[in-house]
Amino acid sequence: MEEFIEGWTARHGATRDQLLPLLHAVQEEAGYVADAVVPVIARALNLSRADVHGVVTFYHDFRRTPAGRHVVKLCRAESCQARGGAAIEAAAAQRLGVAMGETRGDGAISLEPVYCLGLCAVGPNALVDGRPVARIDGAALDRIAAEVAA
């Protein structure tokens, strides 16, 4: 990871404002921002470890532990609620065998809340491994479950 961060800062610069882009890059590369990487990032951008820790923990996107092999981000915001989102959330947790905000024991899937994907007229919506899916119903949950099992 040290080599990756060195190469990244060489290309993009090592000023403080590069902290979020660098954290995104680290997460893209490793899947999460490990606690052990925090001092490396701090050194690379000449920040304190507390500074970097504070930023990592402030933003919902940054993970400190690995996610499941598949990630389903299900919208919990008002527009999806207006279209039955709460019932779909409960059904998704049951169908996928994992509680909202958790990673399943076998590491196959993480079910995460997201607050609005901007698809508000066609909810309930989700991002399944980054792919947007609209109008989620029981059949759509079955397809997602099959995709995850494959």
């Binding site: 404002d17 979020l20 930023v55 527009s79 019932a87 607050y115 698809l119 007229a121 947007p132």
Partner: protein
């Protein structure tokens, strides 16, 4: 014969990629556009003919032959004559859904860069004057006059100035920024280049939320393509990281600077001391994207449309449980009822509309008795609400408004930046209070005595069961807000409905007037409006029938 299929994230979520692929496999030339903005007809396929572009939708990948021979049952006729589009005044979204979003040729052919050319022929002061004369107000929600903001930055003596575009469109029920960035990115780039010329900035940032991967990719590509046209001005995209509060302008600036997205105290204004301490224009996507039209067609043409002090058009977004949801750009002054019932066609579920939330999670809930309200900044403020980013989320009669009030507080607790106490602590206390009200109110079945006769009621009951499960899951025994919600011994609290309702109003007052920014300051809007207009959901008597209708 060209085929047009949208590549907008919502269209793709509805299966547009497979449809486009099917036409390509059939040997047709497929142009991917942005979305026209009506999602009940997506995936929409448009076929170029001598009579114009003929639309078919919704269409599946198996419908290629029926679309090509014109026999498909969902033939809509010429798309621009469809009632949803024919009634609009598309100033900002004129090209969205029509052109290939990243084609410089098509953008230029459809009046692109005319505004920037006009601006470059003018002095910076003349450009600022034109924006002032247009009456354009900040489309992010606050409604501050854009020209005055630009004047402040123009007048500020500094070597470095910045243009920052706030594309952290986190409000549920809004998607206009996303649609514009995906469907007409050069329009935003042109608006930012005009702003840069007007105030003397050399570099700009577009801060886009990470939940919008399509918009991020499209904007980055468009910036690469257009770099030579906006030089010496340069632009870059910064990706958010899932913090709603970064839509607040000063939190957004801190986020670009690589810090926690915490709100700054004002003054100093960002216009004087903004990004990296330098004078900064920070505007919403829609404000900046309105500017090319104003410069190209003249401030008078823009100001000629509108209502009262709200000039020009607003891209209204119809969302939630609505039959014809989508983006409807129209001059200010159209009423809420016209938007929800005439344009939106009522609910998608077919049940009566019970409430609409205008302006995202911080906007008020209005009952149909308020549908006479004209879409206007002042009219909404006078009614105890706000236009915000002009998203309208429709709910049918199965909605539990106490649950929605609880959600507003819960969302504020989850997204508070933590800098000020009323927001950080108040939101958590608010969740607790609504929980006590929900525990003390009469049961749901008693509130809807006619439910058992209603054949649709099973769905409503299912939803209620899910809501109750949701409620139990977060009841302080390990839910993600944890024990903090129940930090006071219940025995010390007067849990009667009256006491808790009074306490909730008092708390809302503290949050409204004591919070540093709109997150804590406006969370009371959905809570108080739910209490005022839907008291029966909080265990109080329902308003008189006359008042409710």
């Amino acid at each position: 014969m060209k085929i047009y299929v949208s590549r907008d994230m919502a269209s793709v979520a509805l299966g547009a990629d497979a449809v486009a692929q099917a036409f390509a496999d059939a040997g047709r030339e497929v142009i991917r556009t942005g979305s026209r903005g009506l999602f009940s007809i997506e995936p929409l396929v448009e076929v170029e003919t001598a009579q114009g572009r003929i639309g078919y939708g919704p269409v599946g990948p198996g419908d290629v032959a029926a679309v090509l021979d014109g026999s498909h049952a969902n033939r809509l006729g010429p798309v621009d004559q469809h009632p949803f589009f024919a009634g609009q005044q598309r100033f900002t979204f004129a090209r969205c859904g029509v052109i290939d979003p990243v084609s410089l040729t098509e953008y230029a052919a459809q009046d692109g860069w005319k505004g920037l050319e006009a601006a470059r022929a003018m002095t910076p002061q003349a450009v600022v004057d034109a924006v002032k004369a247009s009456g354009l107000r900040g489309r992010g929600g606050a409604g501050f006059p854009t020209g005055i903001k630009w004047q402040t930055v123009l007048d500020a003596p500094a070597g470095d100035k910045y243009i920052v575009c706030n594309a952290d469109e986190g409000d549920s029920g809004t998607f206009a920024d996303r649609m514009l960035m995906e469907g007409d990115p050069y329009c935003l780039i042109e608006g930012m280049a005009i702003a840069a010329h007007a105030v003397g900035a050399r570099h700009g940032y577009i801060y886009i939320r990470s939940e919008y991967p399509f918009a991020i990719a499209t904007m980055r590509l468009a910036i690469d393509h257009a770099a030579h046209l906006i030089a010496p001005f340069t632009l870059e995209v910064r990706e958010g990281a899932g913090a709603y509060v970064c839509g607040e302008e000063t939190a957004l600036l801190d986020s670009i600077e690589g810090k926690r997205g915490q709100v700054r105290a004002k003054p100093p204004l960002p216009a004087l001391k903004g990004l990296f301490g330098q004078p900064t224009v920070i505007n919403n996507v829609l404000s900046l994207a309105a500017v090319p039209f104003i410069l190209a067609e003249g401030a008078e043409a823009y100001a000629a449309v509108g209502f009262g002090r709200s000039r020009g058009t607003m891209p209204v977004q119809l969302a939630g449980n609505v039959r014809h949801g989508g983006l409807y750009e129209i001059g200010f002054g159209i009423t809420l009822g016209e938007l929800v019932n005439d344009v939106g066609g009522g609910t998608a579920s077919g049940r009566p509309v019970r409430a609409v939330q205008v302006g995202g999670p911080l906007g008020a809930y209005f009952p149909p008795s308020m549908f006479h309200l004209p879409f206007d900044y002042e009219a909404f403020a006078a009614a105890g609400g706000l236009i915000g980013h002009a998203g309208i989320t429709v709910f049918d009669d199965s909605v539990d408004m106490a649950h929605m009030a609880r959600f507003a507080m819960e969302f504020c607790a989850a997204e508070s930046c933590g800098k000020c106490t009323p927001c950080r602590i108040g939101s958590t206390r608010g969740v607790e209070i609504v929980d006590r009200i929900m525990a003390a109110r009469p049961s749901i079945s008693r509130r809807h005595p006619d439910e058992s006769q209603d054949p649709e009621s099973r769905n409503a009951r299912l939803d209620d069961a899910a809501l109750d499960a949701d409620f139990r899951q977060h009841d302080g025994k390990g839910g993600y807000l944890g024990k903090a919600l129940y930090s006071r011994a219940p025995s010390r609290i007067d849990t009667s409905l009256d006491a808790q309702t009074t306490l909730l109003r008092d708390l809302c007052d503290t949050m409204k007037y004591g919070s540093l920014c709109a997150l804590g300051g406006f969370t009371p809007y959905p809570v108080l409006s739910a209490l005022d207009y839907f008291p029966e959901d909080f265990g109080a008597p329902a308003p008189l029938k006359e008042a409710a209708e």
